[in-house]
Amino acid sequence: MNNGENSVVVQGLTKKFGDFVAVNNVSFETRKGEIFGFLGPNGAGKSTTIRILCGLLLPTAGRASVAGLDVMKEAEKIRQRIGYMSQKFSLYNDLRVTENLRFFAGLYSVPNKILAARMEWAVKMAGLEGRERALTGSLAVGWKQRLALGCAVLHQPPIVFLDEPTSGVDPVTRQQFWELIHQMAAEGVTVFVTTHYMDEAEFCNRLVLIDRGQIVAMGTPTELKRTSMHGELLFIESEPLGQALEVVPIVEGVLDVAVFGNAIHAVVSGAAATAPRIRAALEAKNIRVRRVEPIPPTLEDVFVSLTAARDSREGRAA
């Protein structure tokens, strides 16, 4: 077991709220300087897991350690070694930018001799130079989020937990945010980040796909795309889409179908044999076919395919 100050080790973690199982027997480990992504839809148990790791919730069962410290017994010690950015904005809107920074610097006991430099760094990182005296509530979401990140890492913690840091943020700011995350990781910080944006998941070093409290798959984005699909992927562009959707699933060799934009992604066993069969079936129904060709899967394909497989295994409708 890895006991380093950068590690997060989770074994059989379970959290129940009454009858509802929010996190179900989850196990994983992170490495130093890694961007560890927690990917899943809303309500999958991402925030609950992060909150347990930050010592804000007690697990129902299982064990978890952060920076080599037990989350149940040593939560207070953990807090000095982590930075946490909650899903909901949680800085003080009625304080100025510098007042928020100074407050959290005080709570994290940032030494006086580096305080000024750290605050300057945070202001610059958040792009708030010249607006230090602005009330935090008056800032746009993107700046608020970056300021929140600044407050959370003023004390240079070895592990940072970011719960959906880019939700509600414009694409440019999202990109800037991910650059910050990469910078921190390059400096050796372990970044634990949750998201429901599939494209963001590609930026992670390692990923856990989580759905309804359970881990569905784990690995690097490349590994996941290569190994987790139960078959190959065909890209089908045809018109009208609605009719095509009725035809494609019943073609022999098609395992699963999902709509992406105005195209269909079909998971098939044996792309070479299935593609002509799909084309023929569509043309037989007078549906215009533009393209039927194999494509490399995206993480979204992986996720849809895995959760669909799980649904059919458990006898639920997809």
Binding site: L56, L57, F89, Y92, G106
Partner: protein, 378 residues
């Protein structure tokens, strides 16, 4: 415990209070408003009772008696009647609530027999005021008649105030003029402190939950106790400021005497503030909503202090169960202490009972508040 973290909490709280107009209003205006409203409205003194005079004798002697009524602040002559129905009309219409009727031959009867009666009519629809008016009138007439007696004795060559006449003289202590203001102001101070103190702290924790700032706060190394101290200390100083404001207003504006020591006043006020601030903080922790917490704080301080602290109604006149209930009411002890400090100047050694009671209550409340708050989301 880290002084730096407590300091960071305190600085943040003060900044937020100073930036919030509503908080400032509660801190500065509420004490002044309450003191003025209760100071004037809850005035139990009966002064300038409207009096109707009907002098059927119209001699120097009867005029002398009427002058006595005129000379006090207790009565104001609003009407001089010329017949009896007129007197009744004045009372019925409410122009006068008291009437004095001096019979004809008042002077003559007095001279011949040494005894004469006057009629006093009092509108007793407000029984309290009627009693007071009766008391005032009796004492005026009594002092007048004893003076007459001395005159009479001297004129008849008798030794003055002889013959075993008992001179009865009542003396009131501490509040010599029997002004209810002097009695009320210490009570109002206690009430303002209780309401303002518990109201302000009832918002602190609940506000962090409502605005979502609590989640980030409890993810930092700051401990529950550091949060509690960091949040209560600024309000403690605000409370001390409000106490001073109330006391100074009481003395300078309402003319209440201040006979005790300021040290006793501030040390006991500090104790009472600890009680009410902890109470508000406890509600804030338990309720998690500003609305619910502040209402609980109001409910727990306003009416009990108003009705049961002895501020308006003497505790020893209350039914036994209510008296027992008032034992757990911190304001009761603080009102007793403040009355002693303002009116009697009693030494602190005579307030041991009240101080011990307040200490016990504050320890219990601090413990409750500390135990109730956890750095968890559940």
């Amino acid at each position: 415990m880290s002084p730096a973290r407590i300091f960071a909490m305190m600085r943040k709280e003060i900044t937020q209070v100073l930036r919030d107009p509503r908080s400032l209003l509660v801190i500065l205006l509420m004490p002044v408003m309450q003191l003025v409203i209760y100071g004037y409205a809850v005035n139990l003194d009966v002064n300038h009772i409207p009096l109707c005079v009907y002098d059927r004798d119209d001699t120097q002697t009867s005029q002398e008696l009427i002058k006595r009524f005129q000379a006090t602040d207790y009565f104001t002559i609003v009407h001089v009647a010329h017949d009896y129905p007129d007197v009744l009309h004045q009372i019925d219409s409410g122009v006068a609530t008291t009437a004095i009727v001096i019979p004809s031959q008042f002077d003559e009867t007095l001279r011949s027999s040494g005894k004469a009666g006057v009629q006093l009519l009092i509108d007793a629809s407000d029984s309290n005021s009627a009693n007071v008016a009766m008391g005032y009138a009796q004492s005026i007439i009594q002092s007048y008649s004893s003076d007459i007696l001395v005159d009479w004795e001297q004129q008849h060559g008798l030794p003055a105030t002889g013959g075993g006449t008992v001179q009865f003289q009542a003396r009131t202590w501490y509040n010599e003029d029997l002004e209810s203001m002097a009695n009320i102001v210490p009570g109002v101070v206690a009430m303002v402190m209780a309401v303002v103190g518990s109201f302000l702290t009832s918002l602190t924790i609940a506000r962090e939950w409502e605005r979502g700032t609590m989640e980030m706060l409890i993810s930092t190394p700051v401990s529950a106790l550091e949060i509690q101290i960091g949040k209560l200390v600024p309000y403690f100083f605000i409370g001390v400021m409000d106490t001073t404001l109330c006391a100074v207003m009481g003395v300078w504006w309402f003319g209440v005497p201040f006979r005790g020591s300021w040290i006793v006043m501030f040390s006991t006020s500090a104790l009472f503030l600890t009680v009410v601030l902890s109470l508000g903080y406890y509600f804030s922790v338990v309720a998690k909503s500003q609305m619910a917490a502040s209402q609980l704080a109001m409910l727990a301080t306003f009416l009990p202090t108003f009705l049961l602290s002895g501020f308006l109604f003497p505790i020893d006149q209350m039914p036994k169960p209510v008296q027992w209930l008032s034992v757990i009411l911190p304001a009761r002890y603080y009102v007793e202490i403040l009355r002693s400090v303002f009116l009697k100047g009693t030494s602190i050694s005579l307030m041991t009972g009240q101080i011990v009671a307040l200490t016990i209550i504050s320890v219990i409340l601090i413990a409750l508040a500390t135990r109730a708050f956890h750095k968890r989301l559940e």
